[in-house]
Structure formats: C-alpha cells, structure tokens
Amino acid sequence: MNKLFATLSASILLTAFLSTTALGGLISDIQSRGYMKCGVLNSYAGFGFLDAQGKYQGFDIDFCRAIAAALGTDLRYTNLTGKTRMPAVQSGEVDVVLMLVTETMSRETNLALDYPAVNFYDGQAYMVRKNLGVKSALELNGASVCLTSASTGEVNTADFFRKHGMSYKPVIFERIDDSNRAYNEGRCDVAMGQSANLYAWRATLKNPNEHVVLPEFISKEPMGPVTRGNDRQFTMAVKFIVHALMLAEEKGVTQANVEQMARDPKTDPEVRRMLGADGTLGPDAGLPKDFAVRAIKAVGNYGEIFENNLGQPTKFKMQRGLNALWSDGGLYYPIPFK
C-alpha cells in the first residue's frame, strides 16, 4: 500500500508541476473560464449516475450544481474512477471531486488533498434476508458472510465478530460481483458493503423488501468533496457552501422560499447574513454576495437534496441516520454565519 501511495504521489506531483493552473486563484480561474469542472461517478445509483435522458443525476451531482451555482458559473462533469480521481484533482483536470471519497489521514497528508467538509457519513454495514428475523448485527453469531478478498471489509468483519465474542463463516471472493451474486443465490446469510452501497444495491434486487440492512456500522466512513491542497480560498468556499446548505435546513430555508426570505427584513439575522442581505460574508470569502441564495435556489437545502436523491420519494428510502442535523440526532453542526 505504501509503495502504491509513493508511486501514485510521485506521478501526481509530476503532473501537478507540469500543469499550468495559476496558484491561489482557482475561483477567479473558474469564473473567467465560465464553468466549473466537477469529477463525478456515472454509474452509482442515487449518488452519481446518468438518467434515462443521459443527464447526470444524484446526491453528489447536486452538490456540484450547488457549488457551481454559488460561483455563478456553468458546470461540466468529468467521469472518474477510484484510481483516477486523486490524480485528476491534483493535476487540475477537475476543480473538485464529488464521488463518495472517504476522508483518511494518509490521503490528506500523502496525497496533499483537502477535505473541505463532510457531506455524507456512512460506514460498512451488513445486509441480511428479512425472514431470518435478525434485528441487529449482534445477533449474527454463526452466520456465513460473503466478502471480497483483500478488502477492508474482511478485516473489519474479523474485528467486529471478535470484539463481540461471535463466530462466523467467511466465503471470500476475488471480485465484488461474485460475492454479491453468491449472497443473492443464498450462499451466505450476510452481505457486507458500505451502508449506502447496500441500500442502492438492495433497490436493484428482485424483491428489495426481502432484505434488510442492519443498523450497526462496522467502520466509519466520512465522505465529502475533495479539493487540491494548495488553494485555500477555493477549499474554504466549498466548505462555506456545504455548511450554508446545512444551516438553510436548520433555519427552514428551502428552494421555494429562499428568495422571499432574503427579501424579508424580519428573517433571522444569521440567515440574512448567510443569504447576503446583510454584511459581506460572501465577498470576504471571494464568493458572490448572494452565493447561498444561488446554491439553495439551484438544488434546495441539505435536507431537500437528501430527500430528492436518497430519501422516501426514491426507491432507496434511506433514513437520515447520521446524516441528520445535530438538532435531529445527526452529525451535521453547521458553523455560525457571522
């Protein structure tokens, strides 16, 4: 792994030095270019995928839209893979990557990347058939688990079962497709994956209601946009935009009422500052004065983005869980806008 990182970062550094992007002015670069370049996935149901019309849709895509709208520019997508996403943002091929990248210490240090904010909290979890009557991962003693070879899931599962004094029978496959298929054919009681991935996969199964994703997280996966490590202004801008979407949900600012609230003098003073009606928060950060209004008008607040892409109206019917505001028992605690 270390060796891989070393080779990878060496090649990244090389491309970074060769690229001609001016340092320190990514926001003005984007604005003079007229469009922002967003690195995304195109086949991850619910998060980043092409719809029937060939348009990019999904949770992460909406964050791309929000950032571009806040900057007042157009948006272009680049489809990336797990291998190409880091070099792409390093070399300036894309301005920001939004494709469920887990924040880890080594990625921030070894690859010199920035994680402005978390926009999705997830963890590896287990899925079982409903007719087993299992309600918790702690009831899985003696179960057989389908896993992928050399994955973190293999180690996380061993740790989890050992920690809780339970035994299990692993069936370990080379590829994730084979592991999924084996679960589907009934070889295993338990399938493992990132919780959101399990929900998305479950929705594609023949009878999604026969399967249930257990509530326990086996690992922690904080995910969010990734920016280049040497442009603090742009990184901060992305952070403020994401936090504005969260504060908007907390204060009841929605896609429908955002313009009216910005005009209304009786609106909460913090909301007025965020929306640019009072003060100079936006311009101080290098953003347009009404950056939050534009972002919320484009895609809605955080809650609306979640509901539209993953929540009850969709086939995924995902619960907010950790991805709720702090006031609803979740992890999002937006910074004060003052």
Binding site: A150, A158, K169, I172, E174, G186, R187
Partner: protein
C-alpha cells in the same frame, strides 16, 4: 642415454589465453558468474528498495504475529513431535531401509519380489513396524488446527492443506474418469463412443474458469436454504451451505479395529502374491477379488463384534444460522472438485486413447484370438503396454491440475492463493507471501513429478 619422447623435447609455449582447456573453462566461469551476479543484483536491488521505502521484510511475521481473520475450511494438522515424530522417523527409516534392500538385491542380481525373505523384511519395515509404533503411541500424537487467533504461518499451512486436499481428490477421480471415458471412446458401441466423444469435446474446449462458475452457481441454485434442508434422518443434510455428515469419533476399540484393517491388507497382499506365483508355476488360477473383499470386511467386523463399535457418531444440530458439529463438504469445494475432475478427465481420456491406439492392433486381435475376454484383454494386454505411453503426458496433466486448484479463489474456496491474498493484505509482506506461495506450488509439483518419474522408469521397457 635414453631418448626423451619427442613431445617433451619440444614443448610449444602456448600462452594461457590460447590454451583450449583454460579458454573453455573461462567461458563457462564467465557465464556462470554473470548469471550469479544477475541474480544477486536483483536480490540486492529488491532489498535496497524495500529498505529505502521503509517496508519491513523477512519471514518472522509468519510465527510472530497473531492473525485474526477466519478461514472457512480448516483441518487438523498433526504436529511432528513426540509420538508423531517417532512414527515419521520409523516410517522414513522403513522407506530408506527398503530402498537399501532393493539396491543390495539388485547388486546380487536377485529380483526382490521373488525372494520370500526379502519381501517379508520389506513388509515388516514399511507396514508392520510403523503400524506397531502408531498403535502404541498413536494417542499421544497432537494436532493443531487454525483457530482464531493463530499465526500467519498456520494460516498459510491451512491454505496449503486445502490446496492439497482439493488436488489429491481431483487427481484420483479425474484419472478414473479419464480412464473410463478414454476406453469408452474406443468402444465399438456407437452410442457409448459418441457420448464419450461429446464429453471430451465439451470439457476440453470450455475454459476451466467458466466451468467452475457454471458448477458453482448450478450447485447453489439447486440446493435449498438451511431451514428447508434435504435430510436423510440425521445422517445426511444437504442445503446451500453444503453437505453435512455426522462426525465419527473413535472409541477405545478404534485402534484394534484399524490395526485389523491394516492386517487384512497385508494378508491380501500375500494372498495375491501366492496366487500369482502359483499360476506362474502351475497355470492354475485362483480367485483374488472375493477372498480379498472377505478379508477386508470380515476381519474388522469380527473385531467390531468382539470389542464393540470402534467409533461413535456426533450428529450435527441446527443452531441459529446453520448446522454445527458435523463434517461439511462446502459448495465451493464441491464446485471446484467437480469442474477439476471433469476438465482433467477430458484431457486424460485423450491421453489414454492415444496410449491405447499406439499399441499395434495385431496384439489385441491375437489376445482375442486365444479366447481372452474383453476385460482380460484390457487388463492383461492393452493397459500394461499403454501405461508406458500414458504416464509421461499424464504427469504433465497432473501438474497442471494441481496448479489449476488456484482458481478456487474465484468461487471462495480458501486454498493457498486465496488465503495468501488475505495474509498479504493484512500483513503487508507481499514479497514474502508470494514467494512462499510459489515455493509451495513448486515443491508440490516437484514431489509429484519425482514420484511419477520414478514410477515411469519402473514401467518402461528394459532394453539391454
């Protein structure tokens, strides 16, 4: 004064570098040196790079570190210490002793099989002595099994055992299938010949990996879930977790029971030998098969009746998700086994056919002409001659099959490569794990080809 020989009178002064012997030796030395230097520099380079990247190397992780991951199929491995070591020493001593005996007999132009005393000594060294040792110290043999937490070395060993288990059964049954189909291919019955031809073409021409996937999902799809297992009382439980059988646990009469079984084998050996020698002497034939069967079944049964049952059965019971406590044949093993048997069976069938067809047809006609039945023609005329031609290509096929077991990783069978992959990822010692895996495969293959080459020299025509 005696004349000195001419060539000593005039010694041409050839310079060292034009001396034939010296020059040729120098070439060889230079070549050997550059190969050695190449290998050394590769090794040193790898060492240097590992050091500069801060990657730990060495094999101490194999026994120092606890591994916490679970392997789905494990088996007890006897530890070579105490009783186990004693048995091993006696057995290998027996093998070496027998080999020395045969060399001694060869030097005296005695054919070992013809000499009663020599045969008895060999049987004593190879079977009776180790058998007695095992009988008296068998209960002290300790075995270990991979249970979390174990060492990584134990994990590698478990992977190797799973590879050997799969390879062993696939080789034996693949060869039986190949032999039967190969003979059937030459049958005068049109349908039999056509069907075996079709079998050969299908199994040989579809990639092995596809066959493995086919059997794996075919097996999984037909088998019922655990709660709806097919059951034959408690003796046989079949579901999509595999075939579960009761586990046999030896009782006090287990050792005498096994001892009589071995004794029966020795008696069968002597009986068959007696029958053969008698036929050589008088031409009279005595039955071999039925008396052998009677001995093999009869003697142990007598012990059973006298001393009570030699083992008790521990029945698997349904607890939560699955049946526990029995012996389980997993769908992964079953799929690997079936596809390897069929795949290698197809190839071996063609090897067998070519071996048989290489025998001059006149021999078969002649054998039939003197009134031998088809079975005897096959057993006495065709196969002994075809064997010589079959063994070299069969050896290659066997080596291939052993290496093909590494495809088990595709369907979740925990063989050497699969377990090695996990250990590699968890420990980070990639070079060591891969090197060790290669070494294990090479040793296994070398052992098989050593045995087969030895057998090959035995059955080749001796021309003097």
């Amino acid at each position: 004064m005696a004349r000195r020989p001419h060539h000593l009178l005039y010694t041409p002064r050839v310079p060292l570098w034009r001396n034939r012997t010296v020059r040729y030796a120098a070439y060889q030395l230079f070549f050997l040196g550059s190969v050695a230097w190449g290998i050394y520099s590769m090794f040193a380079n790898a060492q240097e790079n590992l050091r500069s990247r801060g990657i730990q190397s060495g094999f101490s992780f194999l026994y120092n570190t606890d591994s916490l991951f679970v392997i789905s199929e494990t088996m007890p491995v006897p530890v070579p210490e105490g009783g186990g070591l004693f048995f091993l020493v006696v057995l290998s001593g027996g093998v070496v002793g027998t080999w020395l005996l045969s060399r001694w007999a060869e030097a005296r132009k005695i054919h070992m099989g013809d000499d009663n005393r020599l045969v008895t000594i060999a049987v004593g060294l190879l079977v009776i002595l180790p058998g007695l040792v095992l009988y008296s110290t068998g209960h002290t043999i300790r075995s270990v099994e991979y249970i979390v937490p174990s060492t990584y070395g134990m994990g590698m060993l478990t992977g190797l055992m799973n590879t050997l288990k799969l390879g062993f059964f696939s080789l034996i049954f693949g060869t039986i299938v190949g032999l039967v189909v190969g003979i059937a291919r030459l049958s005068s019955n049109w349908l039999v010949s056509l069907l075996s031809g079709a079998f050969i073409e299908v199994t040989r021409n579809i990639p092995l990996l596809l066959q493995i996937f086919f059997w794996y999902y075919a097996v999984l799809r037909t088998l019922p879930p655990v709660r709806q297992s097919l059951k034959l009382d408690a003796y046989l439980i079949l579901n999509n977790r595999g075939l579960t059988l009761p586990r046999a646990v030896g009782t006090e009469s287990f050792a005498p029971f096994m001892a009589t079984a071995v004794l029966a084998l020795v008696l069968i050996f002597y009986w068959a030998r007696y029958v053969r020698r008698r036929q050589n002497r008088t031409g009279e034939q005595l039955p071999v098969f039925w008396p052998s069967l009677a001995l093999l079944v009869g003697l142990p049964v007598v012990v059973w009746l006298l001393l009570g049952r030699p083992f008790t059965l521990v029945f698997p019971e349904l607890r939560g998700f699955n049946y526990f406590g029995g012996l389980t044949l997993s769908p992964e093993f079953a799929a690997m086994f079936v596809s390897l048997v069929l795949y290698s069976g197809g190839f071996i069938a063609e090897i067998v056919r070519s071996g048989i067809q290489a025998i001059p047809f006149g021999q078969i006609e002649a054998a039939k002409g003197i009134g031998l039945s088809w079975g005897k023609v096959l057993r006495l005329v065709i196969l002994p001659q075809a064997r010589r031609l079959i063994i070299p290509p069969l050896t290659s096929n066997w080596l291939g099959t052993i290496k093909d077991t590494s495809l088990g990783v595709a369907v979740g069978y925990p063989e050497l490569v699969a377990v090695g992959g996990t250990i590699l990822d968890v420990s980070g010692h990639s070079l060591e794990v891969i090197g060790l895996t290669m070494l294990f495969y090479m040793l296994t293959s070398l052992l098989v080809s050593l045995l087969m080459n030895w057998y090959n020299t035995k059955v080749q025509l001796k021309s003097r």
